[in-house]
Assembly symmetry: none
Homo-oligomer: 139 residues x 4
């Protein structure tokens, strides 16, 4: 029997709050998704003004990061023509995302969930996601 | 130019809180989705123990109710073999849901969003959705 | 070599105008789709206030009617549990629609396109679609 | 409660007429899609001879431009291997389009809809979309 560690909804809210605070600070309304270790959505927030396509994209970034156990921008760096990883970005009907802004949530070396941001530039998305992770780490 | 009224994220949180309180009271962890007037997700919460398939199902109930401007259990009542509405439940790749638990959010006679619950029986889902609507109406 | 008769865009506009006039008369803003003999969209109109899910649904009704060469309400009548046709409503990922409101467009006994309406009751959808066909027949 | 501005169907027809006139002038029959601020289709026209795959593609360009609030050719320029945005073109099952020919429709600094053209070269698609925007701006 396996025992699995999984983010609680209360912890997901901490991640969202941290990301939202940064998004408000930089003035970019964001879509914020938190998934569990299996990539399934726990919590989602579209700030007023967040983009419609970013609803799904933030979920897909979080899903990809939790499942692949790496940030989407790391996948991005490897996903160049000629690399054996190239093409991963079209897998699962495009649900795998290599756009920056998705990070695994790691506790004691174990991936317990993922966070995905979308609506800004990939750099802004990453900055806000990292703020969410920092809020969680210091909670 | 048309002028449209749309739920804010703050209002979506009131709807979720009302539904969550009722879900805790009856002891059934729920998936709760709030969409805007166009059916696009504003907020989502999976309470610890909420069911995985209910993530999408709660979104689809909220989408259906907001777009059709009627509760999903009303569609359900009309969707029987031999009725001209039969078949609506498989439309849009099954995204149209006629399972009880989705309601439009109406303000001054206008649909401004939708709420969808899933994880319990349809009756439980409906009870919690209505608690969300009541919390919003009295806010 | 086959020679195919296909609705022109100008003819599609006549069909839409006839359906729109009836929709305005009964006070129900509609989604109106016209497809060619292959089921591919020629023209679409969402009247102000038409429903979001009806965008796709009107297209699917028109597609089904043009391809099946019968009205969707005729399919509906046959699509009851126990009938060998039952299940057709979930085919093609639900793109086949048996909800009333889709009609083939027939010229000299040949199907040259389809019209699909959605946003009202199936009866209202059918009434407006038939008004579109009448406008085309008398043009 | 948020208040949103959305293109009316009458305004969508102005955009289509402007794009169609240019398409006729350059002799390339086009698929023309107009969506609202949430990316949902308001009006569509396939000129006689427009390409079948361009039906969906014009919708996806309009959707992308309205949601991302930028032209699809701008996304295209950023979407090169090694860029953190790379991979966006396969998101949402490929519904995100970075092919030139999609533009947001902006009024008083607010995105109220989108226009997408397809059937020609991207340059031709862009030229016709811009003609639609010009017709709308001068109406």
């Amino acid at each position: 029997m396996q025992t699995i560690k999984r983010l609680s909804h209360a912890e997901a809210q901490i991640l969202i709050a941290g990301a939202r605070d940064k998004a408000m600070q930089i003035g970019v309304p964001m879509c914020i998704s938190i998934v569990d270790e299996s990539g399934n959505l726990i919590a989602f927030e579209r700030m007023d003004g967040g983009k419609v396509h970013s609803i799904q994209l933030s979920m897909d970034k979080a899903f990809t990061a939790a499942s692949a156990r790496k940030a989407t921008h790391e996948y991005n760096a490897a996903c160049t023509p000629g690399s054996l990883v190239f093409g991963i970005h079209t897998a699962l009907g495009g649900r795998i995302s290599v756009v920056g802004g998705g990070f695994p949530v790691v506790v004691d070396g174990e991936v317990v969930g993922g966070i995905g941001l979308s609506s800004g530039t990939p750099q802004q998305d990453m900055e806000c996601a990292e703020a969410g992770l920092a809020a969680f780490a210091s909670a």
